[in-house]
């Protein structure tokens, strides 16, 4: 799979405010640098030549391509900032390998900003 697609990166709970037009759902195609035409990119794992998209790569891609302001509200270091819950297909990314989780076509990634109000 040379160009895996992430069907939806769905952000909610306030993070949409960081994006142009406050869109909550994004269909994105994350390309790997292999073919030299990718928009992003950073190779995260050595020998990752099979075009695998990891969460680490996706975060970097989202930061560079979707986040229009205050990136510190989304990322910290190479991970998400504290207080953001990451879900891959409705499952806590900690159960899927965290930053190293490999994404497949049609995977849905959701970033939840936790709420504290009441």
């Amino acid at each position: 799979m040379e160009r895996p697609k992430l069907d939806q990166a769905n952000r909610r709970g306030g993070l949409e405010l960081l994006l142009e037009n406050s869109t909550k759902v994004h269909k994105v195609e994350v390309t790997t640098p292999k073919d030299g035409q990718g928009k992003v990119v950073e190779v995260t794992t050595p020998k990752d030549g099979q075009g695998k998209v990891t969460m680490k790569l996706l975060l970097s891609w989202v930061k560079d391509n979707l986040i229009k302001e205050r990136p510190e509200m989304f990322v910290k270091g190479d991970s998400v900032r504290p207080g953001v819950l990451v879900l891959i297909n409705d499952c806590d990314w900690e159960l899927c390998g965290g930053l190293d989780a490999e994404l497949e076509e049609k995977d849905v990634v959701v970033f939840i900003s936790t709420l504290h109000g009441g």
Partner: protein
């Protein structure tokens, strides 16, 4: 005859008044009859010599030893094992008819004690439902008083209680619904110094608070005392719900080891909240508390419910389990009760243990700031100036000082040319005065304006809130 007709009309309105009075009295009699029936059935259920009606309202920090009231009451004499007291059978008959819930569920509920932390938007339906459904002992903690701007969502409070403690208002409402349970008022803000003592008395804790440091504190407290924690949150048009520290579910620290940056912590008092949203989450919290108390069904352990009111979507996601390496609930945790009592949660999260007090910033030198009283003088002296209001447009629509120019802080940089034009119209020598709601964004704006060459820019200390307090009491604060 005209006069007779008029007299008849007068007689008619008198008649109506009497009928109204009769209707009222009859309703009162019906109410009294109901209460008499309830007490009679209670009396029948209690053997002579045992004081059964230990239920009622407890003020202060009276102990809530499970449900003293319910434990001392025996059954109805018509069921194996004694069954439930007769008055409970009638009151909770619709619960007893549920095959999955039944007598056992109701009995467990009547023997459980649940602490609701926060009598606000979430806590209102939680307390009302838990009181109505017959938990043995219901504790309510809150240090705040009822305010008029609470009532659109905090449905437990009535207008007559504005200015009174929320715990009193909430406890009165609960007792009106169900006088047979014990309701305990804890009129404090929950803090590390009093949390252990209060939480220790209950089986289950419901987090219905409105701020981040309190959420960390309640979770730590529940881990130390090994209590299940039903946690809900709501903001704007979204809500979240899960059960922490129960059946291997994570604690708050497993999920969020480090607190988010302060800028990411929105408060209802800043961002707003649609009244029904905490209502929905609070109802679900009551449901989860009932499930945990009775062992009926599957509580939301290791799962989180996400509610999006705008799109009418509920999503339930799977969470990690309790982490063995967690600093607080992990096997090797050495966080003690003493550590807890000393822990500074406000410092840890860099935010206050209250929804109301917005952390104020101090970005500018004295010379770049004026008080609202000084601004009033400037206006009265007709000194040339331009008032720039940097609040978001929907805030500006609520109320503003006229004349003023509204450019939201987020758009200020791109709209500098507009500002320049307006400033020229008011005169070259005019001062640029910047205003916002509380006096934080105005400082950020002035800082930016100074960098962009608007050297005369000053901000009004305390914003419109100070204006409403110190200059114009008629200005509608929000």
């Amino acid at each position: 005859m005209g006069g007779g007709g008029g007299g008849g009309g007068g007689g008619g309105s008198r008649r109506e008044a009497i009928e109204r009075e009769l209707k009222k009295l009859r309703a009162e009699r019906e109410d009294l009859d109901g209460r008499i029936r309830l007490l009679e059935s209670e009396l029948e259920a209690v053997p002579a010599g045992v004081s059964g009606a230990a239920a009622g309202k407890g003020v202060g920090d009276g102990s809530c030893g499970g449900s003293v009231a319910c434990q001392s009451r025996v059954g109805n004499g018509f069921a194996p094992d004694g069954g439930l007291p007769a008055d409970m059978i009638y009151r909770y008959s619709r619960h007893l008819l549920l095959p999955d819930f039944g007598v056992e569920g109701q009995r467990k509920l009547s023997q459980s004690s649940i602490l609701v932390v926060g009598a606000g938007g979430l806590g209102s339906p939680v307390a009302l439902y838990l009181a109505a459904c017959g938990v043995g002992c219901l504790g309510i903690v809150d240090g705040d008083d009822v305010e008029l701007n609470n009532l659109h969502r905090q449905i437990i409070h009535k207008e007559a209680y504005v200015g009174q403690p929320k715990v009193k208002s909430a406890a009165d409402a609960c007792c009106e619904i169900n006088s047979s349970i014990k309701v305990v008022e804890h009129h404090h803000t929950l803090k590390p110094c009093n949390a252990l003592e209060i939480v220790r008395k209950y089986h289950i804790v419901v987090d219905a608070t409105d701020n981040l440091p309190t959420r960390y504190m309640i979770s730590d407290c529940c881990v130390l005392l090994n209590k299940p924690l039903v946690s809900g949150a709501a903001l704007g048009l979204e809500g979240q719900l899960t059960v922490y520290h129960h059946n291997e579910s994570p604690c708050y620290r497993c999920l969020f080891p480090s607190p988010p940056p302060v800028a990411a912590c929105q408060r209802c008092s800043d961002s707003g909240v649609l009244g029904v949203v905490p209502g929905v989450i609070g109802c679900l919290q009551a449901l989860e508390a009932i499930k945990v108390a009775t062992g009926v069904g599957e509580p939301l352990c290791g799962r989180m419910l996400l509610f999006d009111a705008l799109s009418a979507r509920i999503r339930i996601v799977k969470l990690r389990r309790s982490s063995p390496g967690c600093t607080h609930c992990g096997k090797n945790s050495f966080f003690t009760e003493q550590d807890f009592q000393k822990f500074d949660y406000e410092n840890f999260t860099q935010s206050p243990m209250s929804d109301k007090a917005a952390p104020s910033v101090n970005l500018l030198p004295e010379s770049a700031r004026i008080t609202c009283r000084d601004y009033k003088k400037l206006v009265d002296n007709s000194e040339p100036h331009l008032l720039l209001d940097v609040r978001p447009a929907h805030h500006f629509q609520i109320a503003s000082i006229s004349p003023s120019l509204n450019i939201p802080l987020s758009m200020l940089e791109e709209k500098l040319p507009t500002l320049e034009t307006s400033l020229k119209e008011t005169g070259e020598a005019s001062t640029l005065v910047v205003l916002c709601r509380r006096g934080n964004d105005s400082q950020r704006a002035v800082k930016l304006l100074h960098e962009k060459g608007f050297a005369s820019a000053k901000d009004i200390i305390g914003g419109l809130q100070a204006w409403g307090r110190d200059v114009n009491p008629d200005f509608p604060v929000y």
